[in-house]
Symmetry: C2
Subunit: 192 residues, 2 copies
Amino acid sequence: MKFLNSAFESSHKIVVLRWGHRPKRDLRLTTHVALTARALGASGLILSDIEDEKIKATVEKAVKNWGGSFTLEMGVPWKTVVKNWRAKGGVTVHLTAYGENIEKSNVLQRIKDSNSDVLVIVGSQKVPGEFFSKDVSDFNVAVGNQPHSECASLAVFLDRFFNGKELIKTFDNARLMIVPQERGKKIVKIPI
Amino acid sequence: MKFLNSAFESSHKIVVLRWGHRPKRDLRLTTHVALTARALGASGLILSDIEDEKIKATVEKAVKNWGGSFTLEMGVPWKTVVKNWRAKGGVTVHLTAYGENIEKSNVLQRIKDSNSDVLVIVGSQKVPGEFFSKDVSDFNVAVGNQPHSECASLAVFLDRFFNGKELIKTFDNARLMIVPQERGKKIVKIPI
């Protein structure tokens, strides 16, 4: 068990590889991708090929306030990330509108059946053609075959991979915690 | 039946109300929200209180190329949108990290049981407090009670509301269509 959390027991972890981040243009989208990854059960984000202190600050602040052990790596070349991931026995999933439809095909089941940790690759700009090849992706997965958003695709992929249980995961060492309400906002501050 | 589509038969439609859009700062995120809404089965987007020709151009281009009858309204005051929606018997759902947890609670079932068209409200900036009140929202729904992304929340909400069938919906009058592949990209151009 890699999560010490009874409400969210996943035997396999997911890490998100964000490729093609352009600091100014993509700041907010990559921030949303990172926060989505964390909130929906991924273990970490790798911002490949580039470093961005703003992304780092946002992720660190989220983890400090809201808890959990979400990791961030930056600047590693994407080929190295893929190579290292596979060397440890993990599989790679490229999210793309061109891939196998997650609803129509059995691709999600095949990913689960691989019984491996999953590196989910999400692009920003147009990705290199080799992302679709066996050299990079074990699976090309489409959250619908329409153009939309890597942030949306990632969210649906994680929700389906973890069967919804990621949304009731509790985060260790949180300073802040939302108490769900029908009306209004309720935040509890947890003494350290 | 409001969708003329055998693969995606929903008796109720969803329209997304995007509140708080700031043209420069939110351009890309609102674009992603709009494309996600369209791709994941919503019938339209209302950009309240403001007009943005860039969003309009992107949505129109997506509909022209990829089909469907997704609608865009802009500039209507949000209070008017809510009032009109309710006057026609629709319910309003405010997506917020503070709301009832979509996985833990029965809120999604209650929304479905309302047997009504749904206006999904997603904020950008911090939303006015009244969004949480009965005057505005019939339901406050959290896609997990962690901070993340309105784009991600919308995606998961739509996927769950439509039971995944939105991802295999076909879009009428498309000029372009992706044929899902295990490897590579295949786009078919459809003669008009």
